[in-house]
């Protein structure tokens, strides 16, 4: 369990005032939750370097109670000695990995492009499509969020079979775009609303067209928000399992599908599952660590009106 020794020492040296104890508790709680958040990840990463005995005996700390070995990564064909050789598992993995990258990046890109344009329109202009006003349009877009995936699954299966889009990347990209579009519009509308309209008015006076003002003035300002929307979409698409499991079979299935299909069959071959899980979560973990502040900033605008 996590302890907060350094802080207790500091607190012990001074007279333990109320405030000092408060700080000790705050840091203890922080460290405790850090442990809760990181331990499963730590466990997975280390397990991918274990052999059977280390798993059954519950060894936890590398180099202290077990010697790390490439066991798990070798089974994936990604360890140093197997990286040069041909490996069917690695080819399979890389294919799934590539699918995941193409699909999640493609869908996020499409959603951010469509969603940002729509959000900008909704935040700046008054529309009337027949009886539909801005509020109805916004509701139309945002209400797609509550559509449960099970409702779409079967019609899409039939539709995609007729369109020859079943088990293709582009089919999954379109579907994922639909599922993340409401979130993108939700974030981007508040982003655009927080940009003062005077900026465009000045651009119009200088002779810019509507689209010119949008691309030259507004887009650069709204870029951090778009990054946030992009990351959020990326997370949701990369991790999506339900549609991928139902609508793909051999060509277009993504990492979660591969992961799920391995889960049952591996038994206590934990090292190979751990290596696979590590490889599946690593890209987003890196994205998360590098771009976390954009995510927070973007959602700040989304959540706080």
């Amino acid at each position: 369990m996590a302890t907060s020794l350094p802080n207790q020492n500091i607190a012990a040296r001074k007279r333990p005032s109320r405030q000092a104890w408060g700080r000790v508790i705050v840091y203890a709680l922080l460290l405790f939750w850090t442990f809760v958040s990181l331990f499963p990840v730590y466990w997975t990463v280390t397990t991918s370097f274990k052999v059977a005995a280390d798993v059954t005996q519950g060894h936890l700390i590398p180099w202290v109670d077990f010697t790390p070995q490439w066991r798990g990564w070798r089974s994936l064909g990604l360890s140093p000695e197997t990286i040069g050789q041909t490996s069917t598992v690695r080819d399979e993995f890389l294919k799934r990995f590539q699918n995941s990258v193409v699909i999640s990046v493609g869908a996020s890109f499409l959603a951010v492009a469509l969603g940002s344009l729509a959000a900008y329109g909704l935040s700046r202009f008054q529309y009337r499509f027949g009886k539909l006003g801005n509020r109805d349009l916004a509701f139309f877009f945002l209400s797609q969020l509550i559509l449960p995936p099970v409702v779409l699954a079967m019609p899409f299966l039939v539709l995609y079979r007729e369109l020859a889009l079943l088990d293709t990347r582009i089919g999954i990209i379109l579907l994922y775009t639909l599922t993340v579009l409401p979130i993108v519009i939700w974030i981007m509308r508040d982003q655009f609303q927080s940009i003062p309209i005077e900026l465009e008015e000045a651009a119009f006076i200088d002779g810019a067209s509507i689209w010119g003002a949008f691309f030259r003035i507004i887009l650069p300002i709204a870029l951090p928000g778009m990054v946030a929307a992009f990351i959020l979409s990326l997370v949701l698409c990369w991790n999506e399992y339900f549609f991928a499991a139902l609508l793909t079979s051999t060509n277009a299935n993504t990492l979660p599908v591969m992961l799920a299909s391995q889960t049952g069959s591996q038994g206590v071959n934990w090292w190979s599952m751990a290596a696979l899980a590590t490889a599946a979560i690593l890209p987003l973990a890196i994205v998360g660590i590098l771009l976390e502040r954009y995510l927070i900033k973007g959602l700040t605008a989304g959540a706080v009106k």
Partner: protein
């Protein structure tokens, strides 16, 4: 097909079009030509797939291309015919046409499937069977059991919210290494629920060797089977789901906390309010709008909960952890029972719409009564 939008001008200069009549004509011509093309494609392929004519395409893909072409033509004709207003319409039109295409057909077709007896693994194909599926649904104990579970899972959102609020307060306190803690707390949200099902559900909680099971033994629980009895299994699933989704609520709440005016808290401190008082009297009421957003969003996501259940327990033991989505997933995947599964899904969708409408109405009413907002 959307009629002409009319946008009220904000502050854009009015430019004289070179030849308005000609542009109008081109725009209109373009629109009707594309419409004719789309209709022709639908007609040709419709007749072909009905078996009435021999002329046609191998699949419906060309109709999709025709729709894309039609969408482009609609956008172009808007600009040609309505100038500036058309340019404004161009912002929402792509998203609108996209959503229309991918949502309208599936929902309409879904209703069609829902009222038919259609099992993909049987050879009889689709047959209309009226309300048989509906009657079967009413008498399906497993479906209603899954519904009952959904109530529990949705209620668990409140617990997640409470924990997330605590974490957001911690991160908003004056602490060192704030960025480190923020990244660490956020990390679980980035991870795939399928991976998490294995990482926690299938290995950390594994009965024999899982560290969590070992720890539970150490703490005096003799047989730490996390997925064997209904309530323990439900609690385990909720714990797994919370681990992934608490960070999401936490970010939203943290954003709210950081946007809160500092001087109010300062004033409260000077007036001698304790931490507890200033939380309940100031922080919590000010955070209500953000809280409501976070909770409603989370409930919407929670109603789709499936990945973790499918991959950890497959609904077991005895359906105790089943969500509606995971139950219907098995209906599709294992029993290929498309007609019945879709009826379950459509009914669930109707329930969700009613539930969320009522919930939002109640929240609106309740928020109005609140003094500070």
């Amino acid at each position: 097909m959307p009629p002409a939008p009319s946008a009220t001008a904000s502050a854009a200069p009015v430019r004289a079009a070179p030849d308005p009549a000609r542009r109008q004509a081109i725009g209109r011509g373009l629109f009707w030509a594309a419409t004719a093309l789309l209709l022709a494609a639908v007609l040709v392929q419709g007749l072909h797939s009905a078996g009435w004519t021999g002329v046609g395409f191998a699949n419906w893909r060309p109709v999709l291309y025709a729709y894309v072409l039609w969408s482009v033509a609609v956008c172009a004709s808007q600009v040609l015919r309505h100038g500036q207003q058309g340019q404004r319409a161009l912002f929402v039109l792509p998203a609108f046409l996209f959503t229309l295409a991918v949502v309208v057909f599936p929902t309409v077709f879904g209703l069609f499937i829902a009222f038919s007896d259609w099992n993909l693994s049987s050879f009889t194909g689709r047959q209309f069977n009226g309300i048989d599926n509906f009657v079967a649904m009413l008498n399906d104990p497993y479906y209603w059991n899954a519904m009952g579970n959904m109530v529990i899972y949705v209620l668990a959102v409140l617990v997640q919210y409470a924990i997330a609020f605590g974490l957001a307060l911690l991160l908003n306190a004056e602490i060192r290494a704030r960025k480190f803690f923020r990244v660490a707390f956020l990390l679980p949200f980035m991870l795939s629920p399928v991976a998490v099902s294995w990482m926690i559900g299938k290995s950390l909680m594994e009965y024999r060797f899982g560290p969590l099971a070992q720890a539970a033994r150490f703490l005096g629980w003799d047989s730490p089977a996390f997925f064997a009895t209904p309530w323990v299994a439900r609690a385990s699933i909720i714990a797994l789901d919370s681990w992934v989704s608490i960070p999401f609520i936490m970010i939203l709440l943290l954003a709210g906390l950081q946007a809160m005016p500092k001087d109010i808290m300062e004033a409260a401190r000077i007036d001698g309010a304790t931490g507890w008082q200033s939380f309940w009297k100031i922080t919590f009421p000010l955070m209500l709008p953000v809280s409501v957003t976070a909770i409603v969003l989370r409930i919407i996501f929670q109603l789709k909960l499936a990945d973790i259940v499918i991959n950890t327990t497959a609904g077991g033991p005895g359906g105790a952890t089943d969500t509606v989505t995971s139950f219907i997933y098995r209906e599709y995947r294992d029993r290929s029972n498309v007609g019945y599964g879709t009826m379950l899904a459509e009914f669930y969708f109707v329930l969700i719409v009613i539930f969320l409408t009522v919930l939002l109405a109640l929240i609106n009413r309740w928020m109005k009564r609140f003094p500070t907002t």
